[in-house]
Amino acid sequence: MSTSRKKSAAPKKPTPAPKPAALKAAAPKATPPRATPGGPLGLEEIKALIALVGREPFQEFEFEAGDMRFRIRKDGPAPMIQAAPMMVAAAPAPQPFPTMAAPAVQPTVPADEPGIHYVTSPIVGTFYRASNPTATPYASPGDFVKPGQTLCIVEAMKLMNEIECDVAGEIVKVLVENGTPVEYGERLFAVRIG
């Protein structure tokens, strides 16, 4: 839900966070020290393959043996290495309707960063940063917050619902304008955990 109630502006389909699988897979992928049984290549061998493929005029390279599987794809804006074991599942299931939808508006935050936690609204209502129009906001960027600390109010059915922080850390960004409606699950604050 966004300030404007217009469909085009509504982040109806908040882009799901980039598939964690891809990210996670990247790390372990590089690490397997030695060929496991059924994983016929060791790290050095994979590295050699990667180097070789890098030199060749290939667009894509996929490899699978035993339970090892990797894929290299060059050029294009997409991540260079998408390797994921059995990434087949990751091959985006055809979802024409979602893509037909009005282009999702990204929340006004960079992208999901490691170490960043989002405080979301547990209810539908109107977002207020302070207890009244003249009061100081409960929380602002740069503030350090604790679990249980009130971050804002979401008003619904004339009730002022205090929204509490669920982590400790530093407020990085307030993601919703004061006085605008929020929906269930909408991101309110970005908090750097720590």
């Binding site: 389909k13 539908v124 619904a156």
Partner: protein, 475 residues
């Protein structure tokens, strides 16, 4: 030379005026949410969809003007969550809420909250909903209005003598049932006073053996009862009209599978009596908006009040097709305080309509089958209406009811409607999940269905038939 072409002077529906509301929130999902959105669009009313996290990509969300996520997948936390629904109406500035069917549609408390918040509920008052939702109170009201109720004993029958007296009052055949009973045990059907004493005693001793409790009660036993319901619409000015009847006897465990309008068996005089009785019942409670009075119809033409549904029904399209009246649009007009746009004499049943509920279930075992629809083609062409919120690649979440689509066939007569339903089922393609379409296809070919000779108990017999001949899928 061709005679004069007849053109009806005034069509049933009034010309479209200013939208009855500026903005309406639809507190529902699936096909009925989409149905209401379509009606709103036709009337120039802005729409707000609410949705759970499981329905983010649903068509009712896609086609609404605005949409608000109100909670996680479980209904209790989203579609049944009154504060969330109300808050969604508040933040979007919706003036009215259409509840669809199910969920909050017959929740009197929800209607009161709407009223307290200054939001129009598109349906009757909380008082009416309460009155008709309480079985005892509904029966009392109906009794007062002269609506026939199912005769039965006032609680437990203690002696043979009492049983004979009550049976005489009710009229044979009667059924003696164990109070603690179920599954047919402690149950006896009696056709006359002669056999009653023995059967009464048998029932008691069987009940004792089965449930450790020998108390029994008595009800009239209906011969081949049929489910006949009457669509009612009333406005805030006391006008109440009926839109004819629907027959919904093809049901399994009280779940309707097939509905049609008109009924294949009602003679005009009986139709008239039932419909008039329904109007009387509705007027007795000061009913307004859309509602349905359900009756059980005996083989002998006696009918008895079962219950009243104070909302739009799943099967409303069959009535829309034979009357040409858009029930959902009329609901909005009524809620906005407009008079009914038609009078009783404008209501004409023309042709015949049949609805098959296509559920995501095993067609013969009825086990739900949620999942992704990998290929989809809905039938089109003459006389076919499809009410659905499905699309190819849609995922049917396991959290809600399993209805995939309502397939509705209209024809100049029942024979043509059945023929069209058959070919509609034959040209329906749903892959990736199992559906009840093959079951419907088989029913459409069944001599009983074609002849119209079925009762609410027919599905039981038919399921037995299926067990004996499971390969008889006609396709």
């Amino acid at each position: 030379m061709g005679a004069a072409i007849k053109r009806k002077a005034t069509p049933v529906a009034a010309p479209v005026d200013a939208p009855p509301f500026k903005k309406v929130l639809i507190a529902n999902r699936g096909e009925i949410a989409l149905r209401v959105i379509l009606a709103c669009k036709e009337m120039g009313v802005q729409t707000v969809a609410v949705y759970s996290e499981a329905d983010r990509n649903a068509l009712h969300v896609r086609f609404a003007d605005e949409e608000v996520c109100i909670g996680p997948a479980p209904s209790s936390k989203s579609y049944l969550n009154i504060p969330q629904v109300i808050a969604a109406a508040e933040v979007t500035g919706a003036e009215a809420i259409h509840p669809g069917y199910g969920f909050l549609s017959e929740n009197a408390h929800f209607v009161e909250v709407c009223q307290a918040c200054g939001i129009t509920f598109i349906g009757p008052s909380p008082e009416i909903i309460r009155k008709m939702g309480n079985k005892a109170q509904a029966k009392a009201t109906m009794l007062e209005a002269g609506v026939p109720l199912m005769p039965g004993s006032d609680g437990i029958i203690e002696t043979v003598e009492e049983a004979l007296i009550v049976a005489e009052q009710i009229g044979y055949p009667v059924i003696v049932k164990a109070s603690a009973g179920g599954g047919g045990r402690g149950m006896r059907i009696c056709n006359n006073a002669e056999e009653l004493p023995d059967l009464y005693n048998n029932a008691r001793s069987e009940a004792k053996g089965a449930f450790g409790d020998d108390s029994v009660y008595m009800e009239k036993y209906l011969l081949e009862p049929r489910h006949i319901e009457v669509q009612i619409m009333g406005d805030l000015f006391g006008n109440v009209v009926h839109l004819g009847e629907r027959e919904c006897s093809i049901q399994r465990r009280h779940q309707k599978l097939i509905e049609e309008s008109p009924s294949a068996v009602l003679e005009p005089a009986l139709r008239q009596r039932i419909c008039d009785t329904a109007v009387r019942a509705a007027k007795a409670v000061g009913y307004y908006n859309a509602g349905t009075i359900e009756f059980l119809l005996d083989k002998r033409g006696d009918f008895f009040f079962m219950e009243m549904n104070t909302r739009v029904q799943v099967e409303h399209p069959v009535t829309e097709l034979v009357t040409g009246i858009d029930i959902v649009k009329e609901q909005l007009r009524i809620a906005a305080g407009q008079k009914l746009s038609f009078r009783q004499e404008d209501v004409v049943q023309k042709g015949h309509a049949i609805e098959c509920r296509i559920n995501a279930e095993d067609p013969f075992k009825f086990t739900p089958c949620p999942g992704r629809i990998t290929a989809l083609h809905f039938p089109g062409g003459p006389g076919i209406r499809v009410d659905t919120a499905m699309h190819q690649d849609a995922v049917i979440p396991p959290h809600y009811d399993s209805m995939v689509a309502k397939l509705i066939a209209y024809g100049a007569n029942r024979t043509e409607a059945i023929a069209r339903m058959r070919r509609a089922l034959d040209t329906l393609v749903i892959e990736g999940i199992k559906t009840t379409a093959p079951l419907h296809r088989r029913i459409m070919d069944h001599p009983d269905f074609i002849a119209g000779t079925f009762s609410t108990k027919w599905m039981e017999t038919f399921m037995e038939e299926l067990k004996r001949d499971p390969t008889g899928d006609p396709r």
